[in-house]
Every structure is written in C-alpha cells, then in structure tokens.
Amino acid sequence: MASRTFETAAGPRSEDALPASATSAVKIVIVGGFGVGKTTLVRSVSEIRPLTTEETMTEASAGVDDLAGVERKSMTTVAMDFGRISLNDELVLYLFGTPGQQRFWFLWNGLFEGALGAVVLVDTRRLEASFDVLGRLEESQTPFVVAVNAFDEAPSYTDGELREALDLTDEVPLMACDARNRESSKGVLLALMQYLHSLAMTSEAT
C-alpha cells in the first residue's frame, strides 16, 4: 500500500530553482495525438526534466470513446506533461503537452487562457488525430503553428497536400521538425513566436 508522506514530498532540485527575481510566466501549449512526440519536444528544450500533473476524469464516458463498455462510472487519471525555460531573470516560459482529442478537452480548463499560442504536432500516419484540435483552436482564435514530427516510416506529403488534408489556410505556418532535436524544437517555438509577432504588428497597424 502506498504510504507517501508529505514530509518527504520531493521538491525541485536546488539547481532547478528559479531566481527570486522571476516575476512573471507565459505558456505555450503543444497539442497533438498520443505518441506524436509532445513530451519529446518539451523534453528537448526544457531546462528541467519534464514534470507531470494529473487530473482525474470523473465524467461517465460511455459511448464517447474507447472507454465505452466500461460499466461503472470510471475514474481515469490523465497526465499532462510540462517543461520550463527561463527566458531571462524575470520571464519564465512554460511548455505544456496535452492530448488533442475532444474527450480530453476538460484538461484545457485554464490551459489556453492567457497562453501565447499553440503548436499542433502532427504525425502524418495519423492526420485525423489533429482534426478535432485544429477546429477547436480556430474557434477559440488561439494562434497556432503546425509542426510535422518526422518519423522515419511516416509517409511524406508536400506542404500543399498537408494544407489541403488539414484544411489549413496559407497564413498558418507549417513546418517539419524532429522533436528529439533541441535546435529543431527551438525552431518550432521560434516560428510560433515570429508568427505571433507578425500578427501583433498587423493588428497594431490597423
């Protein structure tokens, strides 16, 4: 039987402590299907080993998804992984990986409010896993970029084919990435930020 005590609850390692001058934080959400590489991307750029926060799904889920057929009201624990980047002495960036399927949207409470934007991570073997989330982001007017994580055995498509399959407008940045690679993941985050920069400049100009 578990006998965790709070006296021994692990805190952050001393080398992971933020400076006392840290005054504000921003967040970017990495969203995509299972196994698409969300946590891999977070890990490749995070200054801390990715952490996990768990929420319990108590809603009866029968008929909605793979949990259909489970007779009693189930308690499902869903984990959300996240990492951190100290941008300077005051500003901290948090990166959250969250599943994109509609049945996990309850996790998004508080996640997208105030978020800078989102990276939709796509596996070309399972494009349909991204449909729900793309629609939802457009609806909520959350700015996003689409990054195709390069899996060796995955089919490759031209940008035009992908835009058509995902119903992306020309404005939405679309790029390939290797989530295991730090520079590549950093490039995706920068692409999102530069997109936000251009959107902000456009809205200021009007």
Partner: protein
C-alpha cells in the same frame, strides 16, 4: 466502488475532499497554472502537512502547476490550498504576463529562445 475496510486510495476523491475541507475550484481563486508562488514565511509546526509542503517547495518562485507536480496533487486541489495560504499572507502570488498581444513580451520570448 469504495467499501468499508478497503484500502484508502491515496489519490481518490475522499482523500482530496478531506484535504480541502470539501471546497473545490480552480476558477474562483484567480490563479493561473503558471502563476508564480513564493513563500513569505517558513513552515510552522502544527500546520496542515500539505500547506507546510507548499511553503517548503516555494522557497524559490514556483508555478502552481509545478507545485501540483511536486506534491502529486491535482491543480484544482493545490489552488484551494494556495487560497488558504494567500488569505493568511503566507505566500505571494505573481500573476502571469498580461494578455496578448503584447509586443514586448513576444520580443522577450523570441530573444530568450534565440539565446538558448
């Protein structure tokens, strides 16, 4: 189903109910996942262990979601515990950066990422 005599589930709803005195709510507290929390006082003898843990891990600034991960408690529960500590002025909350589009924040993030 929980039956009398069955092992107490560490993460189960009954335990969480006890920790918060039955309160719930992330939205009411005004805390964001990335609100930074800093302790203003050291832990004191006789405090609820979860409050004590929060004061200890927040010796340096720590976001609400990191507290949740380190204490292995859901964010909703941590928020309620933090509301207690905020009311008693035992912790300080540093709100997230203001809503976008804020060109200065965007530039700071771009600059920070480029320097990684």
């Amino acid at each position: 189903m929980t039956q009398v005599g069955e092992d107490w589930d560490e993460g189960g709803p009954e335990r969480l109910y006890v920790l918060t005195g039955g309160r719930s709510g992330f939205d009411e507290t005004g805390l964001d996942l990335v609100t930074l929390i800093v302790s203003r006082t050291p832990p004191q003898i006789g405090m609820q262990p979860e409050h004590e843990s929060i004061l200890r891990v927040c010796a340096s600034p720590l976001s609400v979601v990191e507290i949740s991960a380190h204490l292995k408690l859901p964010v909703s529960i941590v928020s309620v515990l933090l509301a207690d500590l905020l009311a008693e002025e035992r912790v300080e909350a540093r709100a997230p950066a203001p809503a976008l589009p804020d060109i200065d924040i965007i530039k700071a993030v771009i600059h920070g990422l480029q320097n990684l």
